[in-house]
């Protein structure tokens, strides 16, 4: 996959990736996904997204080559590769903050390295390819259990951990009402995972009817279209007995719709790092003393959010890139026990060669698309 500029990608033959560090591995990709956050790159919203880059931070594959210091995986292992590139030994990794590794991104200090996610996230080529270089192969790649469906495994690299962590960071208490903004794959997964923490009511808000219907069935939650409401914040107050939700989760990020001023300043004129509509609604819809959890992706400069209300309501905001490695044991258990069905999110399987169409289908939300999996021709 080769990024050529906003809304333009194509397939191109590239040289094989090489081992550049003794802890590297080369993985032959067997499944890779397009993430909702890849669309921010595709739309040109993330600074330092260079032409010629390969996107893709959700992939599984087979270890083809390892560096001399790799001991935790071997050639031929089928592995799922967390989207975070993490050394496993800096202070942040040791605290379980694998998304904040200090030794994987030279280009920015705020975020650790991420596969195929611009030079702001380290300048690594990603997994929407036949082969990919995987640094720190002793830390990230995890052998896929023999009985696990590869379609489930590929969604454990990002979607499931991010959705789960969104719910986890909400600090949900038994009986809580949880409101989730965004019915994309992450929002749907966050809604599903909110039940694990004892929520009594899970509500998802979006503006695309087919996604709301999907969320209603998949996550057993209430689902509402904000376009049918005069004011989403008043709506949420009203359906929570004029109290506010206990927990609000932003699973939308920088390309939200629903507020003309946010859209104009964030998406049209780029006067802020994307439209922070969902975060604004989350802050204003949560109860006093409530928790707002943020996993939606925003650009680095800044956003207009009602920080005064955060102070006045005593809100706790928790946010981070998902710490995939930390969560994998628990999530693999949930999948194996049949409590989670990640592959149920997949609506489209597309050959890697048709990546331009796959991006357009996902971006334009054509053909009732929820989640796209790309299959390279070298998978077998």
């Amino acid at each position: 996959m080769n990024y050529r500029g906003p809304y333009r990608v194509r397939i191109e033959q590239r040289p094989m990736p090489e081992i550049l560090h003794p802890e590297d591995a080369i993985v032959r990709v067997t499944r890779t996904c397009i993430c909702g956050s890849d669309l921010h790159l595709y739309h040109g919203m993330v600074p330092d997204t260079r032409v010629g880059s390969t996107f893709g931070h959700e992939f599984i594959g087979i270890i083809e080559e390892i560096g001399p210091l790799v001991t935790e995986v071997k050639i031929g292992d089928q592995v799922l590769v967390p989207f975070n590139i993490a050394c496993g030994r800096c202070n942040f990794c040791k605290q379980g903050l694998y998304g904040n590794c200090n030794e994987s991104n030279s280009m920015a200090s705020a975020v650790g390295g991420i596969f195929g996610y611009s030079h702001t996230a380290g300048g690594f080529n990603g997994g929407q390819a036949e082969y990919v270089r995987v640094p720190y192969a002793n830390t990230g790649p995890t052998v896929i259990p023999a009985d696990m469906d590869p379609d489930d495994a590929v969604l454990l690299t990002d979607v499931v951990p991010t959705g789960y962590q969104a719910a986890e960071m909400g600090g949900i208490k038994e009986g809580d009402t949880v409101v989730i903004f965004g019915a994309g794959p992450i929002g749907i997964m966050a809604a599903r995972c909110a039940w694990f923490f004892g929520a009594s009511r899970v509500i998802i808000i979006d503006h695309i009817d087919y996604r709301l219907e999907f969320a209603r069935n998949y996550a057993k939650c209430e689902a509402y279209n904000f376009k049918s409401m005069e004011d989403p914040v008043v709506f949420i107050k009203k359906i929570t007995d004029w109290y506010g939700a206990d927990v609000c989760i932003d699973c939308v990020g920088c390309e939200a719709e629903g507020n003309a001023l946010q859209t104009f300043t964030g998406k049209i004129t780029l006067m802020q790092a994307g439209a922070a509509t969902a975060l604004q609604w989350a802050i204003n819809s949560v109860k006093k003393g409530g928790i707002v959890s943020v996993v939606g992706v925003y650009g680095p400069p800044f956003n207009y959010v009602p920080i005064g209300n955060v102070l006045n309501k005593g809100i706790t905001i928790r946010a981070n890139q998902a710490s995939v490695k930390r969560l994998l044991p628990k999530l693999i258990e949930h999948v194996q026990a049949g409590r989670l069905n990640p592959k149920g999110l997949i609506t489209h399987k597309v050959p890697l060669e048709e990546i331009a169409d796959a991006y357009h289908i996902f971006s334009a939300k054509l053909d009732e698309c929820i989640k796209v999996v790309l299959i390279p021709s070298t998978k077998s």
Binding site: R4, H21, C87, H119, F124, F197, G198, K220, S323
Partner: protein
């Protein structure tokens, strides 16, 4: 509007991960105290820098590993080098990077033409799928673009006279 028409406790896994000790929850709970040692931790071996890597001014050194995709080049590279003279706190870091990205897209087209490749921009934008799944929308886009182009052309023609 209360969601009380089903027993949510029957949802597979409901309440399984309730943990009273899980507060404050991630990312607060695994604090080790090592932060006070700052950067004094066991460092991985350093990846050799064989291409130009632009380094954040908020870091003392390169990270132990880094990506080597698309090193800076051309006019966009000049703009990116300027951006990286400034910290991530500054607009003069981020705005030039966004400008560089747009310049880079044009550089990509020029590079293609130089290599004898005419970029198939419609295919790169996935218009095959637009044709398949959104024919009405595509027709609308073409008609609107056509009408605007015609109006613009006739305006310019009139102005020329």
């Amino acid at each position: 509007m209360e969601n009380n028409n089903f027993d949510y406790k029957n949802i597979p896994g409901w309440g399984l991960d309730i943990d009273e000790r899980n507060e404050p929850t991630y990312p607060m709970k695994n604090y080790t105290g090592d932060d006070h040692k700052r950067l004094d931790y066991e460092k991985p071996l350093q990846q050799p820098a064989d291409v130009e890597i632009l380094q954040s001014t908020e870091r003392p050194t390169l990270s132990a590993v880094f990506g080597n995709a698309s090193p800076p080049s051309g006019l966009s590279g000049v703009i990116r080098r300027y951006a990286f003279k400034h910290s991530e706190d500054r607009y003069r870091h981020w705005i030039p990077l966004i400008i560089a990205d747009r310049v880079n897209a044009w550089e990509g087209i020029i590079a293609d033409l130089r290599n004898g490749v005419i970029p198939n921009i419609l295919a790169e934008r996935g218009w095959k799928s637009e044709l398949k799944y959104n024919r009405a929308g595509l027709t609308k886009k073409i008609v609107i673009t056509g009408v605007i182009s015609l109006l613009l052309l006739s305006y310019l023609k009139r102005k020329k006279r």
